[in-house]
Symmetry: C2
Subunit: 387 residues, 2 copies
């Protein structure tokens, strides 16, 4: 069976794009990716988005974006799995190309979250939890994360500011990413004195909601464009799993079983081991989720995820570099687009084009796109292949 290659990537800066509409954001990323793939025209579009029907009154994004990009006639659908929508769209694009029935797919992640006031955004975000048992009680994603962090701190012996390493690393990496939302770095003093959003989380433990679009061109390996990049990137693993939607239904609040399952299956596909992975783009929407992701995938034992961050192990030159272009915290968190941004950034790393953020000799990246508190986990493994 042919490999699935990522032959083109595109992205807009992540920001509060009050002057750019949903379709314009999407178009910019689509054009960018098609150009990067040597002008190849996709046969299908898989769109990762979670909130456009609510926040932009716009569903049916497939026809909209295909139309606006001059691509009518091809197939196009939206794939939704809360904030894992981007990863889920990549998974559907991968499966489509693997089927042999689609030769070239465009995977687009797009989200526009900053046009509405905060309470509307929180209400929209709460639709990704259990409407009947969580949202109705005021349990938003932020509240879920705060309760989880509180429990983690209660269970484990850790210092005050034990989670600081996640924000410091992310913001440091953001300084080297021209498309990041925050590029001025963060000092420990600022983290330590930051106001709380939802105790025990402070504002730097919470990734900023943002607007953005990112895109990938997937192509079968026997159909590479005539002028491919010298270093090609292929999808060496892909898997997805779900856990209970509601937090209160978990047997274990502090372990993401769906993440463990998805990562495990993606790695098993080609026998990738943890030590083969050169960088890990996790879903650090909240610091606690970064810690739990490291533990659930197996980079740290339980209760010690925070320590990897505190000891510099997740830095660009550390044992397992994470959030290498700023992650959700510093690059910004454009909802359902996030999983596609992760893939774009990993491709940039694997091509060796990450500049000051370059992970040395990176040849294998693990991506985790997550929906809710580990309710959906989507993992991909990208590896290099020299042409």
């Amino acid at each position: 069976m042919e490999d699935v290659m990522i032959t083109g990537v595109g992205q807009t800066p992540v920001a509060e794009h009050w002057d750019i509409g949903l379709r314009d954001l999407a178009f910019a990323a689509i054009q960018d990716a098609i150009h990067d793939a040597g002008g190849i025209k996709p046969q299908a579009i898989y769109i990762g988005n979670m909130l456009a029907p609510n926040l932009s009154n716009q569903a049916h994004l497939g026809a909209l974006f295909a139309d606006f990009s001059g691509l009518t006639g091809i197939e196009a659908v939206t794939v939704e799995a809360a904030d894992a929508s981007g990863g889920a769209a990549l998974r559907q694009g991968y499966l489509a190309v693997k089927s042999g029935l689609v030769q070239t797919a465009l995977v687009l992640g797009v989200e526009k979250m900053t046009d509405k006031i905060g309470s509307s955004v929180q209400a929209a975000l709460a639709t990704t939890g259990d409407a009947d048992y969580e949202a109705v009680q005021g349990v938003t994603p932020t509240v879920q994360a705060a309760m989880t962090m509180q429990r983690y701190i209660h269970e484990h012996d850790m210092p005050i500011d034990g989670f600081a390493g996640f924000a410091l690393t992310a913001h440091k990496n953001g300084t080297g990413n021209p498309d990041a939302m925050y590029r001025s770095g963060l000092q420990l003093e600022a983290y330590s004195s930051a106001e709380k959003t939802s105790d025990p989380m402070n504002i730097y433990d919470v990734a900023p909601r943002a607007d953005g679009a990112a895109a990938l061109i997937l192509t079968r390996s026997d159909l590479l464009p005539s002028n491919p990049h010298e270093m090609q990137v292929r999808i060496a693993g892909s898997s997805s799993a779900v856990d209970t939607l509601a937090l209160h239904d978990r047997k274990d609040l502090l372990y993401f079983e769906a993440v463990q399952l998805a990562a495990g299956k993606a790695m098993k596909q080609e026998g990738v081991l943890l030590e083969d992975i050169d960088l890990f783009e996790y879903h650090d929407s909240f610091s606690i989720y970064a810690a739990l992701a490291l533990e659930s995938v197996g980079f740290a034992i339980r209760g010690k995820g925070w320590k990897l961050a505190a000891e510099g192990e997740i830095s660009i030159d550390g044992r397992i570099p994470c959030a290498t272009m700023g992650g959700l915290k510093a690059r910004g968190f454009p909802g359902g687009a996030t999983g596609v941004y992760q893939a774009v950034e990993a491709v940039i790393q694997l091509r060796g084009n990450a500049g000051v953020n370059q992970v040395k000799d990176a040849s294998c990246a693990l991506l985790l796109s997550m929906g809710g508190p580990g309710s959906t986990g989507v993992c991909h493994i990208l590896r290099t292949r020299r042409v």
Copy 2:
């Protein structure tokens, strides 16, 4: 490459289910389909839904339904393409099984539209058109259809009540479907004297918004359950295409190019000809769309689609039976679930289990799931294969 079989089907009655929640509806159909497939456990769920984030404040249906059905650990996502969401979910399930990476998929269509008042539902439905250029002007799906019907009448020489045949046939077939919303039939007099909803459409030209869930189990042909149905059904064609989202961007208002493309490609997959097709489940959300579907697929020349209905050619014993279990008009129109209902009904026909609605010797069915006024067209061809 292995065939993709539909080994199990399930559905709830279509109705105004004010006493049944989204997850309960979904669960009923899922259980039904799994039971019908001999108890097989799916590895993935593809959910067709268009309005739950808006009308039920509930996104992230994958984790919700997998959880509620005791299926956590598998993968599950929502696929959205307006009212073509059901067909689009079937297409993703088909591609996943074709890829060889998913052996058994559950395709679920679910929609709950009747809990909210009419204006909320119309606003939600308007998100499936162009929010910036159509919805903002008050152009809802009903308005799009009325304008299209007006143009059709203007262009073509046809009698008053020329569209009656679509409603009369659908309601006649509804009488034989125990899961249909309307089962008491319709007389021409009632159609002729019915009040207008949006001129020139009357209430019988508009399919009733409804609640319901339907489900399919897809399995690779080499992995049939140990106790398969005597008559197996396989997916012999699958294709999808999009047109411009906004009606005003069409070159031709009275031809569904995306439908023609999707049907043509699905038929070409195994060389199916129009005369091979024993029944056609079209998307008769509005009578005019039924006429245009017949013309766009090629069953009628342009301007003569209505005549097929008027002359009884779309009846159970006609040349090309349509809406054989009542269609969207009489079975009811549960939004994004509709495309999955169509597949369930076609399987019942192909198994020979359609009772008084049975199309004689049916062995090949064409399904059209449509989003907006032909903005998205998803076609599947189902054929029998004796075990």
